[in-house]
Amino acid sequence: MEFSEHIKTANVEDVELRQPLHPPSRGTLCITGHHLLFSDREEGSSRQVLLLLRNIDAIEKSVENLLGYTSFFSHAGHSERTSGSSGTITIKCKDLRVLQLDIPGMEQCLNIAHSIETLSCLDNVSEMYPFFYRPTDLNPQSHRGLSAMETYYGQTKELHERWRLSSVNRAYSVCPSYPPAVIVPNSTDDDVLKRVAKFRQGGRFPVLCYYHRKNGMVIMRSSQPLTGANRKRCKEDELLLQAVIDGSDKGYIIDTRSSQQVQQARITGGGFESKSFYDRWKRLHRQMEKGKALQESLIKLVEACSDESHNMDRWLSKLENSKWLSHVQTALSTAGLLAECVERDGHSALVHGSEGTDCSLLISTLAQLIMDPCCRTLEGFLGLLEREWVEAGHPFQQRCAHSAYSHARLQQESPVFLLLLDCVWQLWRQFPLALGFSEALLLRLATEVYASDYGTFLCNSDQERSALGVKENTYCLFRALLRPTERDIYLNPLYEPTELAIWPSVHPQSLQLWKGFFLRWTQQTRHLEEVQEEIRNMVIEWGKLALS
């Protein structure tokens, strides 16, 4: 397909752009296959706005046909029909920015709007921008490198005695959403894994995702067992879990659904690990919202943040009604529970909901941040995301197709990853010295996950990415973030490594709206950015002094 098919008007002169935190400016608008480019034509300034079309969540257009007044404009001598008309396009981005373009000429305006509408939601992954992006200072991802899971296994020597790296899924035949390499108990052979996979939804059999060095306990994750209405059982599944807690008296299963939901799941073929067949495992239920409910929560919150009525009661009730902060509270407290099981109670734990691709990843990631100092550095955190989200098969493409402004009918969208970033921000705020990365990193990730130059968040699974050659043909965001030119922005100047677990407070008063993200385009956030800048300067100054 040629992008030019969709571009009837590529350039428009004399467009006025209005964007938050800047005065309006006039210049040339240009549409390409992947970008919207605006260049300022003011004397002495050469400001440019380059916007990935993919970042556009919704556009609204209003055209004004001023034909009745053409006589005033006739001296302009252009096409009679459109010379006096104009249109305004409002662009609402997935990073919550809202831009307005005043475009002279109704036809041009409609053409531009049409191009944006079409090009911003291309479905074909291999036509997306990451496949065209060619930064000069990066090498393409080496497809020969180790996967994050293999790296983790390699780094965690303590694992090797009881755990092995299995390549049962090397052709993605056992579980299409898992990576080729997974960590499983030594005593469980690949045939057993294949049978267990048949008993777990989507083939997501229990795999290790975290080894707690302090006590040798582990976190496993999987999808729900397919017990169904007849309480089917699977000997191999029971053995596998038994092997996990070998030598210990019990383990915990944290199910991210309520016990009622779990019962209902049996009707549709799902289910839970029954006490009678998994007698050493203790199930704990924590109902976590996901899917559509979470997407709607985000939509409501963003709507509340743009309410300009100045009515305190209305704001508080909208904030409450969005439930977003409740979701943050639940996620952090469930993660805290998981970390308690492992760190304080000293037992291994298995986490799953139904598919095991959303909430399970959310809380296993948060629990690791709480317990493990290694994943609190910039590199450690990015590695954790690579392992627990990208490789673990979070369906980014489905979940992040649209954000809060979209008018499109909701399909598989759900801001689970955004919820993760919000929770990590809450941790960062409560423990400003314990995390090695800055808020800027979280904000960057929140943008990149919806629209990116890089291939990292493309597709829904490792299998899809490998089929499309994502690794060979696109660049890796995480590596880009670690470039010397960039990493300084993403380091926390106050970072002070601590070996201790960081237990978040989940009291409502301790949780706050993530202003940096949800109110990113307001003046208020500017002041807070200034503060970060000031802190950075102070610490640098001090470093200089200390050295001299």
Binding site: E496, Q509, K515, A546, L547
Partner: protein, 649 residues
């Protein structure tokens, strides 16, 4: 001492509910003339808890239990103590004593007047000269050819709740002043609060006019005209009535009300809608209740917050300040502010406006001057509002609490704009209620003079100034753009949040959060030291070699830090909290602090988590998210058993 029936009770159990403590400590309770003191039996810690009688807002006696009789002490700084006394008779005695002691009938019973004032005579005298209001007027350029000092109120002849020294428009004659004061509630005629040199516009304050439906007063009209004329740049003034319009109208029926725009030429009337002291009193009670909720869900919490209306009121006060600021700074128009009596809402609106208009008031010294001017000297009724003496409960209202909170909300929005930190605001709050110093005693300047407070007590400000290192915001930089000039806050509702530091002691003492501010203070301190050392070395080297050296070009690798700072991680709660005990310790520990912390660290009170005890098959228990939440936060409070004590390293 005559009110103390039982000075000492043994085997008392104390639970500091507000600090989120779950374990009861056993010890001995002492009643002194000024404090309730609890000393823990535990020989290792012997922790002492001191509660000043004047800080106690209520003493409740719930029904007796088999274990003994209970008392619940609620303090004005929102701490709550639960006391269990084995013998009912002792409990009754303690209750009766505390009820009496916490409600003194005479000023002389108060702490600041209960000891020999001449012990540090010089220090005392000096303490009162710490703040010089006239110097501040001079700083803003007054007197000048627009505003002059008037002797009209010397000896408090015209208005007994005003200060004796006041500034009025140059053209206002004594007759105008006296005439105007007769037409104003309590005689509080228009006087200068703040003069803005950049635009020559002024903020003035007064009380409501006694206009009723049709009354008018020529002198008052002349007075307002004089205020306008004292600003050469504008041809009208704003009259800001900080009350809701409905309230102002209702006052007309009582012969009071607001200015009739037909009678006064060149005024623009603006109503702001700050509610009265009774609404504020009950609103604060509601937000205290929100702060005390044990383990609320997010929904409970946000509902409670909305239902209290508190943030709405804070926003209204800030909006009043913003309106005045815009008028004075942007339009260059003078503003006359009043409410009913002109000592509550007017004080709030004027002082918030000063904070926004003038960076000086955002410094430690400046804030003290501002409070001394707009609150203390202009007759804010401290003793009535903060119930220093047993009196009419309807007079009590958290008026200055709201001002302090406005400042806090601003400091959250502009973290680099204020020289002081949250602790400073909380310390002021504590002192307003505690009566440890004479500064806030009485209801107006005249009363304080008649009581001879300056001879009998000390002023609080030098004490706070002495501790200023504790109260300094490390992020404050006078050169920064947000520290300079006019502060233009955003008052969209999402900019407001509950002031956790003031209302929620549970959260304050649960896992002491890492504080970047403390860290940065340490950084700043060390930087200064290093800089000094560096200068020394440079001088030495220069002396030796005759050549100055520079260090700017040296490459700086990241080095690991070995700074001592207050909280490095989830460590146990600290008890000697400097916020609540700036001057006279409310809480003291006998043993040295690190040892005490260590004792806390080893606290083995780890119950298995509630969440883990749940039977997963049990539906009702499983849906109980809160127990998990409560559990988690409480467990954090018990401190990690593996936590290191940063002070010991």
């Amino acid at each position: 001492m005559e009110h103390i029936r039982t000075p000492k009770v043994e085997k008392v159990r104390l639970l500091d509910r507000s600090s989120g403590q779950r374990k009861v400590s056993i010890g001995t309770l002492y009643l002194s003339a000024t404090h309730t003191i609890f000393v823990e039996n535990n020989p290792e810690t012997r922790k002492e808890t001191w509660v000043l009688h004047s800080m106690v807002s209520s003493v409740e006696r719930p029904p007796t239990t088999p274990a003994g009789s209970q008392l619940i002490l609620r303090c004005k700084d929102f701490r709550v103590f639960q006391i269990l006394i084995p013998q009912e008779r002792d409990c009754l005695d303690v209750h009766a004593s505390l009820v009496r002691l916490s409600r003194p009938e005479k000023y002389s019973e108060l702490y600041c007047l209960s000891f020999n004032p001449n012990a540090n005579k010089e220090e005392r005298q000096e303490s009162w000269s710490f703040i010089d209001l006239m110097a501040d007027y001079k700083r803003m350029g007054v007197p000048n050819n627009l505003w002059v000092s008037t002797a009209a109120n010397s000896e408090y002849r015209v208005c007994d709740t005003y200060p004796s020294e006041l500034f009025v428009p140059r053209s206002a004659t004594p007759a105008t002043i006296v005439g105007s004061s007769r037409f104003r509630s309590r005689g509080r005629f228009p006087a200068l609060s703040y003069f803005h040199q950049d635009t020559l516009a002024a903020v003035c304050r007064c009380s409501q006019p006694l206009s009723g439906f049709s009354g008018r007063c020529q002198e008052d009209e002349v007075m307002l005209q004089a205020v306008m004329k004292s600003n050469p740049g504008s041809d009208f003034i704003y009259v800001v009535d900080t009350r809701p319009k409905l309230n102002a109208m209702a006052n007309r029926a009582a012969g009071k009300g607001y200015e009739n725009e037909d009678h006064y030429t060149n005024i623009k009337l603006q109503f702001i809608g700050i509610e009265n002291i009774h609404v504020m009193r009950s609103s604060q009670q509601k937000i205290i209740d929100v702060g005390e909720m044990r383990s609320p869900s997010m929904t409970d919490f946000l509902w409670g917050l909305e239902n209290s209306g508190w943030l709405k009121h804070i926003k209204a006060i800030l909006d009043a300040g913003v309106f005045i600021t815009r008028a004075v700074a942007d339009e260059g128009v003078s503003v006359l502010v009043h409410c009913s009596d002109g000592w509550d809402r007017t004080a709030q609106a004027c002082s918030v406006a000063s904070i926004l208009l003038d960076p000086f008031y955002r410094t430690i010294k400046g804030l003290t001057v501002l409070i001394e001017r707009d609150w203390v000297s202009f007759g804010h009724k401290f003793s009535h509002r903060y119930s220093h003496l047993d009196g009419d409960p309807k007079e009590v209202s958290p008026v200055i609490d709201q001002f302090l909170e406005c400042v806090w909300q601003l400091s959250e929005q502009f973290p680099c704009a204020f020289e002081f930190n949250e602790r400073f605001l909380i310390a002021i709050h504590t002192h307003v209620y505690s009566c440890q110093y004479g500064t806030f005693l009485g209801n107006c300047q005249k009363e304080r003079r008649d009581m001879r407070l300056r001879e009998r007590s000390h002023s609080v400000w030098p004490q706070l100034w002495k501790d200023r290192a504790e109260f300094t915001n490390p992020l404050y930089k006078a050169e920064l753009s947000q520290s300079q000039g006019i502060l233009r806050p955003n008052t969209t509702p999402y900019c407001f949040k509950m002031w956790k530091g003031l209302y929620n002691h549970v959260e304050k003492s649960t896992p002491p959060r890492q504080s970047p501010a403390d860290f940065l203070s340490a950084v700043r301190e060390e930087s200064q030291q290093l800089e000094e050392e560096l200068t020394n070395h440079q001088e030495k080297i220069a002396a030796l070699t005759g050549k100055p050296i520079t260090w700017e070009n040296i490459e700086v690798p990241r080095r690991t830090r070995h700074l001592r700072y207050r909280h490095s991680g989830p460590d146990p709660p600290t008890f000697a909290d400097p916020i609540t005990s700036p001057a006279h310790e409310n809480t003291r520990t006998l043993s040295s602090e690190p040892a005490n912390r260590k004792a806390q660290t080893q606290d083995p009170s780890h119950s298995p988590p509630v969440g883990l005890q749940l039977d997963p098959e049990d539906l009702s228990a499983c849906s109980d998210l809160e127990s998990g939440v409560a559990d988690l936060s409480s467990r954090s409070s018990s401190g990690g058993d593996d936590s290191k004590d940063p002070d010991l390293e």
